[in-house]
Symmetry: C2
Amino acid sequence: MDFEEFRKMITVSREERYLETLSENRESIQIKKEKTIIKNLEKIFKATLKISNQKGFQAMTMRDLSQEAGISLGALYAYFKSKDDLLGMLQNQRRAFIRRALENEMEKEATTAFKLRAMIRTHLFLSELMQPWFYFSFMEAKNLNPEERKKAIDSDLWTERLLEGLLVQGREEKVFLDRDAGLTAEAIKAMLQDWYLKRSKFRNVSVDQYAGFVIELVETYLGTATTH
Amino acid sequence: MDFEEFRKMITVSREERYLETLSENRESIQIKKEKTIIKNLEKIFKATLKISNQKGFQAMTMRDLSQEAGISLGALYAYFKSKDDLLGMLQNQRRAFIRRALENEMEKEATTAFKLRAMIRTHLFLSELMQPWFYFSFMEAKNLNPEERKKAIDSDLWTERLLEGLLVQGREEKVFLDRDAGLTAEAIKAMLQDWYLKRSKFRNVSVDQYAGFVIELVETYLGTATTH
DNA sequence: GTCTATATACGGATAGAC
DNA sequence: GTCTATCCGTATATAGAC
């Protein structure tokens, strides 16, 4: 599966994501009409990501947000209780979604080596589709309150275990060379992370190309690369 | 050279670094006695890194800093003109130093393959010694004013070109396989970065071990790894 | 050189009209 | 549901005593 196919498959579920956010935060949202909520939440989230990724969430004032989102200062507070609450909502929003997508794509593959490829590709495709969110999530993690922070760490740990599990399994199946699974998993994560943290550096490289590169590098190290 | 040797060699030049900062910022510092300046600048920089790395530079108040550094609010402003000025001073402080260290260590090596190893090792050793500064530098880069920001980007680009240059040279000398130099350089940078961004994840791994791992992975991909 | 006290402004959040 | 006007706390930066 290349990026274009992936994009088409995933686009359907955008509105779904906002409905999920809505049901998780029903008590802090004062608006009745679902249609209004979804429309404005999307504006608010987009504006928050845009401003925060330029100058940081702390430095973004509610007045900045009001202007960028085209919603008055007072009206914003009908959608969340506090600025801190907004940060939490945004962080939570896509985590479950990403986890489901990764699991789905990996289940489709039969062998460990193919599962690893699917994991790398899918993660890159997801971070390409939602680059501002991934970047925001990484940069603002330390500003979360303890409870939300724990969720973020757990989510990160989940990705790590997933990768490490695949590497250990491949080693046991004798399809991968005997490498340090923890360090190798971390190296893969570092390359996945680089894609969304330094997005502007990759202007002339497509996600498909980058995915191919990472897979080749990893498979060479694991001794499963075909030819070069 | 392992980390312990490197550490001993480099320790001497700590005070030197502060003298450099001092001469670059003579006009914004109102204090006369050099000894006082160096002593207090070190307190201020240490405190700034500590607080900022916990909750971000924007979120750090001057009162936080005053307390952590053990210097009153008023006295702080004898060492810099504004909070923004402090950010700039800190960011600038170690860049020249790092560049010199990298160049020195690479010059000692004769072959391209050894220069690449020296580059990887030295960068990891430097970021191990000054982890809080490296982390701060990465996380707060977007809060710099345009002028300082340009310096940060240039410095980053310098590292990139250095790596890419080595990879291209090695390819021409036929000691490295024919890989994409830009992407490979970026992958190496991603792994170097991971070391200081996720320092807490590597609790049970030494820098020497990590350096060995990165070098092995890179050399396997470049076709120069001895055995595994 | 360092302190305390304070001027001044700006940010988050709410009240209440429409 | 959305707006404007405003309250109130807190932040940066400075003045002036010691």
